[in-house]
C-alpha cells in the first residue's frame, strides 16, 4: 500500500508538522537475557551503580505479570463439609467444598484451579500424616471430586444445571412497583446463566422502553437453554453386570432427563406468564396502544362525519345557489318583459306624441292639410321613427311634449332631422316635410 499524495493545500515549515506526543506508555520488566539485552544494559548502566533502594523503586514501578494471591477465593470451611464422605459426592456442593460458593457458575477456570490448589496445600492427607494428624482422607477426596467435576466443562454444565444454590427464587405475586422489577430482574439474571445465546436481554425497570420489554419477552419465550439433567441420573451398573439391567437404567435415565427438561421449559414459561401478567409496563403499553387506537378511530369517525356533513352542506349550498339563480333569472326575465312592454308602451306613447305633434302642428300646413301632405308628413315621421331607438324617440317626444305652436314643433323636428343627417342616419333631403 502506497503513501497518499500530498494534499494541495498542505504546507508546513521545513515540510514537518508536529502534532501530538505519544499517548501512553507503561513500565515493564524486560528479561535480562540474550545479546540484545546486554547491549541495552551497557547503555542503561552508563557506568552508574544501582543500589538496593533503586531495586525496590524499580520493582514497584514495573507492571506485575504474576498473579498474587489476594485471598479472594478463601471462605471459611464448613465443619459439616469436613465430615463428608467422598462416596456422597453427588450431593456435595462442589463450589462450597472449594471455597467458591459466592462465585458458583461465574467462577473462572483459573479461580477453580487456584481454589483447588489452596485446598490441596491444606488438606493433602500425606501432609496431614506428616504433621501427625490422623484425619482421614475423606474431605480431600471430596475436594478432588469437586475439582474433577468443575474442571470438566461438560460435567460442570451438568452440575451447574442443577445447582440450586445459584437459583434465585421467583418473586411472589404480591410485589409491585420498584420491588417487582428488582425481584424479577434478579430472577432472570440468574436464569440467564442457562442461555446458549448471549447477551441475554434484561428484565429492565419501570422506565424500560416498549422495545426493550418486547425484546425481553420475545427472547425469553424462545429461550434456548443448555440446561441438562444428567447429573440427577440414577447410577448405571458397571459393564460387567447384567446388560439388560444396564440398558434398562439407561433408558430410564434418558426418559427422566427428557421429562425434567420439558418440566423445566414449562416452569420457565409459567414464570414468564406470571411476570408478564403482573407487568404494569405491558398494561401501560397496551393502554397506550388502545388509547392511540381509540383516538385514531374517533378521529377517523369524526373525519368521516365531517366529510358527510361537508358534502351535504355543499350540496345544499349548491342547490340553494341554483334556486336563487333561477329565481333571479326568472325575476329578471319578468322585469325585462315588463320593461320591454313599458318601453313598447312608452314608444307607442311617444310615437303617439310624435304623431300627435305633427297633427297639432296641422301637418305644417297653412289651413287644412291636404291628404297628400298628411301622408307625406306621417311617412316622414315614420321614417324618422324608424331611424332612431326608443330612447331617442323618448327624448324627441319629451322635447315635443307640451308644444302646441307649429313653428316650435317644426323646429324640434327639423333639429332632429338635421341631427340624423349629421349622424348619417338620414340622407340630405330625406324627411323633407320635417326638415
Amino acid at each position: 500500500m502506497a503513501l497518499p499524495l500530498l494534499p494541495a493545500d498542505w504546507s508546513a515549515d521545513k515540510d514537518f508538522k508536529r502534532l501530538n506526543a505519544l499517548s501512553s506508555a507503561s513500565e515493564r520488566t524486560i528479561e535480562p537475557v540474550g545479546p540484545h539485552f546486554l547491549a541495552h544494559a551497557r547503555r542503561a548502566r552508563h557506568k552508574r551503580t544501582f543500589s538496593e533502594d533503586d531495586r525496590i523503586q524499580a520493582q514497584e514501578k514495573a507492571r506485575k505479570t504474576e498473579d498474587v494471591d489476594d485471598g479472594e477465593i478463601s471462605e471459611p470451611e464448613d465443619p459439616m463439609d469436613l465430615q463428608r464422605e467422598a462416596k456422597d459426592w453427588k450431593t456435595q456442593d462442589h463450589y462450597k467444598i472449594l471455597g467458591l460458593s459466592k462465585y458458583r457458575w461465574k467462577a473462572s477456570e483459573d479461580q477453580i484451579k487456584k481454589a483447588h490448589r489452596k485446598k490441596v496445600l491444606k488438606h493433602h492427607p500425606d501432609k496431614k500424616a506428616a504433621q501427625g494428624s490422623t484425619e482421614d482422607d475423606q474431605f480431600f477426596k471430596c475436594i478432588q471430586k469437586a475439582t474433577e467435576v468443575l474442571l470438566d466443562p461438560v460435567k460442570r454444565r451438568q452440575y451447574d444445571s442443577v445447582d440450586e444454590e445459584a437459583d434465585v427464587d421467583p418473586p411472589t405475586k404480591k410485589l409491585t412497583g420498584k420491588d417487582f422489577y428488582k425481584a424479577w430482574s434478579k430472577f432472570f439474571k440468574a436464569e440467564a446463566r442457562f442461555s446458549k445465546e448471549h447477551p441475554v436481554p434484561t428484565f429492565g425497570d419501570e422506565n424500560a422502553s416498549k422495545e426493550h420489554v418486547e425484546d425481553f419477552y420475545n427472547f425469553w419465550y424462545n429461550f434456548d437453554s443448555w440446561r441438562t439433567f444428567e447429573y440427577l441420573d440414577e447410577d448405571v451398573p458397571d459393564d460387567n453386570e447384567n446388560r439388560d439391567q444396564k440398558r434398562h437404567v439407561e433408558r430410564k435415565n434418558a426418559n427422566a432427563r427428557k421429562k425434567k427438561k420439558a418440566e423445566d421449559n414449562m416452569r420457565l414459561r409459567k414464570l414468564l406468564d406470571d411476570a408478564s401478567a403482573g407487568d404494569e409496563r405491558i398494561k401501560r403499553f397496551r393502554q397506550e396502544a388502545n388509547a392511540a387506537k381509540n383516538k385514531k378511530k374517533a378521529d377517523r369517525e369524526a373525519a368521516e362525519k365531517k366529510a358527510i356533513e361537508d358534502a351535504k352542506a355543499k350540496k345544499e349550498a349548491e342547490e340553494k345557489a341554483k334556486a336563487e339563480a333561477e329565481e333571479k333569472a326568472k325575476a329578471e326575465r319578468e322585469s325585462s318583459k315588463k320593461a320591454k312592454e313599458a318601453a313598447k308602451n312608452a314608444v307607442k306613447k311617444n310615437k303617439r306624441v310624435l304623431k300627435g305633434s305633427v297633427k297639432d302642428a296641422n301637418y305644417f300646413a297653412e289651413g287644412d292639410a291636404s291628404a297628400a301632405q298628411v301622408d307625406a308628413v306621417l311617412n316622414d315621421v315614420d321614417l324618422v321613427q324608424g331611424k332612431i331607438d326608443p330612447d331617442e324617440i323618448a327624448a324627441l317626444a319629451n322635447k315635443l311634449n307640451g308644444l302646441k305652436v307649429s313653428g316650435e314643433i317644426k323646429s324640434v323636428w327639423s333639429d332632429e332631422v338635421k341631427r340624423l343627417v349629421e349622424a348619417g342616419k338620414l340622407k340630405e333631403g330625406d324627411a323633407k316635410t320635417l326638415a
Binding site: 502506497a2 497518499p4 521545513k14 513500565e27 515493564r28 528479561e31 544494559a41 506428616a130
Partner: protein, 563 residues
Amino acid sequence: MAENASNAGPEPGSRVTIGITFGNSNSSIAYTTDSKAEVIADEAGDRQIPTVLSYNDGDEYYGGQAKAFLVRQPKITIAYFRDFLGQDFKSIDPTHCHAAAHPEDTSGTVSFSVKDKEEESSTLSVSEVSTRFMRRLVSAASDYLGKKVTSAVITVPTSYTEKQREALIKAANDAGLEILQLIADPVAAILAYDARPEADISDKIVVVADLGGTRSDVTVVASRGGMYTILATAHDFDFAGVHLDNALMEHFAKEFMKKHNTDPRSNPKSLAKLRLEAEATKKALSLGSNAQFSVESLADGYDFSVSINRIRYEMVGRKVFDGFNRLVEGAVKKAGLDVLDVDEVVMCGGTSHTPRIANNLRGIFPETTTIQAPATSTTAINPSELQARGAALQASLIQEYEAADIEQSTHPAVTTVKHIANAIGVVTGENGDVFLPIMPAETAVPARRTVQIPTPAEGGDVLVRVVEGGTHIKVTKPEPKPAKEASDDKEDDEDDSDFDSDEEEEEEKREKIWKIGGELAEAAIRGVKKGGKVEVTINVAADLGVTVTAREVGAKGGVRGQI
C-alpha cells in the same frame, strides 16, 4: 543477583559454564561449542535426567536409575521436590511424592527422611536434597566436558519468588557451583530459537507453552528486536504430563480388570509399575501410531500386555488435551491479546512432544502463526531441550563478566523500562485510511524502527502521516444460507436437520483490524520519482520523545523532525 555477588566465585577467565534446567520431573544440562548449544547425556545416556535421588545400601543413585527404584523402594527415593525449594511446608503440594519418600514438616520447613547411609537414616532438608542432586548433574557435565564445571545459568519458572531464587542459588553454591544468573524458563526457550543462525529477530508476539510433568506454564512474551517482555503468565497444576499418565493408567487398569478382576491401582507396587509403563507408552505414542503396554507381573502375578493406538490414546486423554487448549487461550486473553495477535507458539517441556497437543494449538491459532513443535514444524527444536540450551547460551554470553557486573546489568533499575502502549506507524492508501505499523505496541524504549514504503505509481509529492494505531477484532458471522425450502423430494426433508447442523458449524470469520489513533506528526516528501520509495524511521527515546526521519530512498535530503 545480589545473593551470589558476595560469593567469591571463580575468575571470569577460568570459568567452565553450563546451562541447567532443574525441573520437578526432569533436569537437563547443556553447554555451548562455537556458540551452538548441546544437551549433555548423563552416564546412563539420558538427556532428560529424572530429578530423582535414591539411596540403597548406602549408595546414592540419581536420574533414570533412581527413578526405577520408585517401583521397588519408593520410601528411599526422593522425587518431585524442585517446587519445594524455598517454600514452607504449609505451601507445598505433596501429591506427586505420594509414591515416593513423603515430604516432612521440620519446624515449618520441608525435609525428607531416607536411609542414606548403610545403617542410619538422615533427615535431609529439601535444600540438601537439591544440593546433592545438583552435584550429580555437575559431575555428569564435568565428566562429559573433561573439565570441572564451575558456573551455570539455571532456568526457573516465572512464578519463582525471591525466596525460592535465593534457596536455589544457595543449594547450587553448596554443590560448589557458581550461579551466574537465574533466567525465566520461557525466555530460555525463546533464546534457544533466536540464537539459531537462521533466526529472524523480528518483532513478534510469542506464546511459550511449557508443558511439563507436574505443571504447565504458559507465558505470553512480546519479543521486540531480540528483547523480551513478559506480558502475561498462567500456571497450571491440573493439566500436565502426569495427568495424561493418569488417564492412561485408568484405561489400562480397566483393561486389566476386565481380564483379571483385580485393580492394579489398589496396590502401591502395581500402581508404580502401571505408572512407569503408562508413561513409557505415552512417550512411544508421540512417535508411533501404535504402542505396546507391557508389564511383567503387573498385579496378582499376572503379566499384562496390550497395544493401544494413538487415536484411542487421544480419546483417553481428551479432557487433558482440552485443558491445555483452554490454558493457552486463557493466557493470551490475560495478556489482553487475541489469538490473531500471536505470531509464534513455542512448545517446550516433555509433554510438548505430544502431536495431539500441537495439532490442537495449530487449530486454535491462525494459519500465519508458527507452532514450534515437532508435530507441526520440521524446524522445531526438541521441546525437552529448549530451556537447557537457552540457559547454556546465556551462560556463554555472560561468562566473561564479573559477578558484580552481572548483578548490576540485571538490576531492576536496568530491566524496568518504559514500553509504548500503542503501535506507531504511518498512514497509507489512496484515501489515507490504512495503518502501516512500524513499531509495535509493547516495544521497550529507546527503540528505532525503519520501513520503506512505496509511493503512488507516478511518484510526486507524498504525505507521511505518523500516527498511533490500535487493533480490534472484527467478527463476521457467516451469511445464513437461504433455507432450501423447495426440496426436490420429500425424503430429503427428513434429513434437513442434519444439514442444518452442518451449516451452523460454518465458522464466523475473525480478522484483526488496525485503527488509526492519535496523530503524532506529518511530513512531506516532494518530487518522488516514478516508482520511488520513501524510507521512514521512527526513533523513540527513553523519555518517549519521538524523532521521525523520512526521505526518498536513494535521494539526498529528506525531512527530520521531533515530537
